[in-house]
């Protein structure tokens, strides 16, 4: 059969976000692919230079629609590092709580999308139903389901009381049983295994070459997690295990993400029991002293990188954001060979794309 080139995106039912991928196929065999971004490039890095540090929190929140909280958290950590202030410990813990909830909701969302792409709509519906529970907690404590507006430079803008504590604990318990069932399905459902096991495996060497981070790297046996390796407070106080898997295929990624969800649920409970008392924010000056800082944190998709330079005014002189999706996208065309057309959704879903993050 002749070589034909099929476009995936910028509008395609496979990816909800605008990413353009051209895939060369011959019959049902995939020969290669190339991709481009930029359809949702909003110039946030540039825009950030025109707003002051306080306003930027709300701008940064809009980098991503899924992992919005980790972006503001990392940004606030960067600004606080330049200001050289320590915020109240309770605020650190509340930030971490939100981060873990966000990881849970992001991973469940991803598991649902993978299930949908292999035709298991039932699991899609169930995981997204469970994901609503995590969103409910976030809405209850911050008022926002997706954009929380929870962070500010110098602390957080919400606090927990006794009723919240009980509500979160019971919901987390509920989620735990659901996720355990989900792990059981992932490990035993033959059709899901047939569709994901051995599909486009990525070796640890490839992961290192392409600087891939997060669950994708961990599913290939590369043991990286910024929460443990380079912890921001309060992760240096919290104990948790980093899930890795040696296989590197789509199934390994599924397992890693499902078990990470479980680990995050455990972390939520730990954070709740360790939660210190005290204020949740502190007053900070408007102007930030000149200096440069680099903050790395672990977003749901992996290492998130912020570089912030201040020139002593109330506006950043340069803000560089590197989201974990970018290296994963870089790897994607490499995976688009020696697979079948039917595997394209699995491979594309496997890296957990967040195009809005990658474009910024």
């Amino acid at each position: 059969m002749n070589k034909i080139s099929i476009p995936i995106g910028p509008q395609h039912p496979l990816i909800k976000e605008p990413l353009s991928m051209k895939i060369d196929i011959s019959g049902e065999r995939v020969l290669g692919g190339s991709l481009r971004l930029g359809y949702v490039h909003r110039g946030i890095e540039r825009l950030a230079q025109t707003r002051n540090y306080v306003k930027n929190v709300y701008l940064i929140e809009r980098v991503c629609g899924i992992c919005s909280h980790i972006h503001t958290t990392t940004y606030c950590h960067a600004v606080e590092a330049l200001l050289d202030i320590i915020i109240p410990p309770r605020a650190y813990y509340l930030r971490a709580l939100m981060c873990e909830l966000e990881r849970i909701h992001s991973h469940l969302l991803w598991l649902g999308i993978l299930a949908k792409h292999v035709g298991l709509d039932t699991i899609f519906m169930h995981t997204w139903h469970d994901r609503e529970l995590a969103l409910d907690i976030m809405e209850e404590i911050t008022g926002g389901r997706v954009l929380h507006g929870a962070n500010q430079v110098g602390g957080v803008r919400f606090d927990l009381d006794k009723t919240h504590d009980a509500m979160i604990r019971s919901t987390v318990q509920k989620l735990k049983t659901q996720v355990e069932g989900l792990v059981d399905v992932i490990e035993n459902e033959p059709a899901l295994i047939a569709r994901t096991k051995g599909v486009a495996p990525v070796s640890a060497e490839m992961i290192r070459k392409y600087c891939v981070v997060g669950p994708v790297a961990r599913a290939s046996g590369v043991d990286v997690d910024m929460r443990r390796d380079n912890p921001l407070p309060p992760y240096d106080q919290l104990e948790f295990s980093v899930v890795t898997h040696p296989d590197g295929d789509a199934w390994a990624r599924t397992v890693v993400r499902a078990e990470e969800t479980h680990e995050s649920l455990n972390l939520c409970e730990r954070i709740l029991s360790d939660l210190p008392d005290g204020p949740v924010s502190t007053r900070v000056p408007r102007n930030v002293p000149a200096g440069e800082v680099i903050i790395r944190s672990e977003a749901p998709r992996g290492e998130l990188f912020y570089y912030l330079r201040s020139d002593g005014t109330d506006k950043p002189a340069r803000l560089k954001i590197r989201t974990p999706t970018i290296p994963a996208l870089c790897l994607l065309p490499e995976q688009m060979s020696a697979i079948q057309v039917a595997d394209i959704p699995v491979v594309m879903a496997g890296v957990d794309l967040c195009v809005a993050c990658a474009d910024r």
Partner: protein
């Protein structure tokens, strides 16, 4: 491997590649070395061999009025702890050797810097635009705009 010690790193680079590098102290929590642009490829290759595959977090480019609008390109690495290499390029026709052949993952970072700051990366394939529209003809959008956007 242990934590990266900036002094041992500096002496390693200086002894192996023979280039002189200075410590850049401004970035508080990340060790940074300033290296001359023409040495970049050799240093990155050395680090990649030394650490058996090095993790490049990203490449940041920026322009600083206080330094005569020179374009600074910073390579952020991570190997148990973060460290960076800083290169200063002239504002007019900046050129830098590509490290894609050493670290394939640098591809998108280099393309982003090339499109946003007009830095020309030599020694790599010509690529279609990654972020900018195909028919973009107004030059790199990030450059020299600090003065006129308020």
């Amino acid at each position: 491997m242990g934590k990266v010690n900036i002094d041992s790193l500096r002496s390693l680079i200086e002894s192996q590649t023979g280039c002189t590098c200075d410590v850049y102290p401004e970035i508080g929590n990340d060790d940074t070395l300033i290296i001359p642009p023409e040495r970049l490829q050799g240093v990155v290759a050395l680090l990649n061999d030394y650490f058996e595959g090095i993790h490049l977090s990203t490449i940041t480019a920026q322009q600083r009025e206080t330094r005569g609008n020179a374009i600074e390109v910073i390579y952020h690495f991570y190997q148990d702890s973060g460290f960076s290499l800083m290169i200063t390029l002239p504002e007019q026709s900046p050129e830098l050797a590509s490290v894609v052949s050493i670290i394939p993952g640098a591809d998108f970072y280099e393309r982003e810097v090339a499109e946003m700051f007009g830095v020309k990366f030599t020694g790599r394939d010509e690529t279609p635009p990654l972020l900018l529209p195909e028919d973009w003809d107004q030059g790199p959008p990030f450059i020299r705009k600090e003065d006129n956007d308020e």
